[in-house]
């Protein structure tokens, strides 16, 4: 059972519309920026664990756009309540992808607490997401994406991944005023 993160993200790219907002964190963000740089990538989440909450704010304020969150498992553990908040808010335009590698990858690859037991799809299901999905192989993941992304959210998609190619970790860019300005300009262009 192998799903490399970059392969999963590459499979997602063809299904991203020009006007979709993509919120990405940590290694998923670095991989995504290398694979699919675009103005509507939202990379400035500031504090660990906050991607899902930024995604909710964007989904509420931009109901005519899809918001794709590329979250990490260590990050989500810092903000588990956001699953309940998102489900309760009922944002139909939010798609919450979670890279599950069960380690704090950019912080020394230490294991998550409960790494061998934690069931992230269980968290999302119990929180009340409209749909919850889990994948550990590329083919079924890739084949379901078109249907999944046309189904009303909030949808939760856990991807049990292994690291792929080591993409550069450009922290300076994700925290830069340039990244925020580029996103703001693209969001307000139309």
């Amino acid at each position: 059972m192998t799903l490399y993160r970059d392969a999963a993200l590459k499979a997602l790219i063809p299904h991203i519309r020009d006007d979709d907002i993509v919120v990405a964190v940590y290694q998923s963000c670095f991989d995504w920026l290398a694979l699919n740089p675009r103005a509507l990538n939202y990379v400035a989440v500031g504090a660990m664990g906050q991607a899902s909450s930024h995604g909710l704010g964007l989904a509420l304020a931009n109901p005519d756009r899809r918001v794709i969150v590329l979250d990490g498992d260590g990050s989500l553990l810092m903000n588990l309540g956001s699953l309940v908040t998102i489900a309760h808010a009922g944002v139909a335009n939010l798609y919450h992808f979670l890279s599950v590698n069960r380690v704090y990858e950019v912080n020394g690859a230490h294991p998550l607490p409960g790494a061998d037991k934690v069931d992230f799809t269980g968290f999302a299901r119990a929180s009340g997401y409209a749909g919850v999905h889990g994948f550990g192989e590329l083919a079924p993941f890739a084949s379901v994406l078109p249907q999944l992304l046309s189904t009303a959210g909030p949808q939760f998609i856990a991807m049990e991944v292994r690291p792929g190619k080591p993409y550069p970790r450009d922290y300076a860019y994700i925290h830069s005023a340039q990244a925020r300005a580029q996103f703001r300009q693209a969001l307000n262009r139309r």
């Binding site: 400035a44 906050q50 909710l56 704010g57 509420l60 304020a61 903000n79 956001s82 808010a89």
Partner: protein, 182 residues
């Protein structure tokens, strides 16, 4: 400070702000998105009335730092939002406020009930450590803040909110007495 005594007469002299007037000021500030964790100081005078007011959309959150992110993210297309919480939640959210509000220069506007503050005392003179450190903490973070605890104090809300969005920086309204329920 600890050891200060205050009579029932001192407490009786002070008047609370009007919840209705604060809510009217929020509307005048074009705030329609309210993100909140319940706080006993503002519960009856603000949060319950807001929850019943169709002019607001209330997003109930589980933890206060979620709200910092939600309000910050909303601001990118100019959507105005306010985060209601207690000072304990403010303290719990300082890292998110540091990053998202201050370093990312986003207009995160917050309204914070000072739970445990004596109605007749300034926050800095409170016997409650958790209350009297709030303004110094905000000052240390260079966060703009203002106090609402008497009738009429709410008049500055529209201007303060407009300034926060114009400068793209946070502002914290501190609620020093429970607002009177509308």
């Amino acid at each position: 400070m600890a050891g200060i005594s205050h009579s029932a007469g001192d407490v009786a002299k002070v008047r609370p702000p009007s919840g209705a007037a604060i809510i009217a000021a929020l509307k005048a500030a074009d705030l329609r998105e309210v993100v909140a964790v319940p706080d006993i100081v503002t519960s009856d005078g603000l949060l319950w009335p807001i929850s019943r007011d169709p002019e607001f959309r209330l997003t109930r959150i589980c933890k206060e730092d979620e709200g910092v992110s939600i309000c910050g993210a909303m601001s990118y297309n100019g959507t105005r939002a306010i985060l209601l919480m207690q000072q304990t939640g403010l303290m719990d959210s300082l890292n998110a406020i540091r990053a998202i509000g201050v370093e990312y220069e986003l207009p995160v506007v917050m309204m914070v009930g000072l739970q445990g503050k004596e109605p007749h005392l300034h926050p800095d003179q409170s016997a409650s450590y958790g209350v009297r450190i709030i303004r110094p903490v905000l000052d240390a973070m260079s966060l703009s803040h203002s106090l609402i605890e008497a009738p009429g104090d709410e008049a500055h809300i529209p201007q303060a909110v407009a300034a926060a969005y114009a400068a793209s920086r946070p502002h914290v309204f501190l609620i020093g007495r429970p607002p009177e329920a509308p």
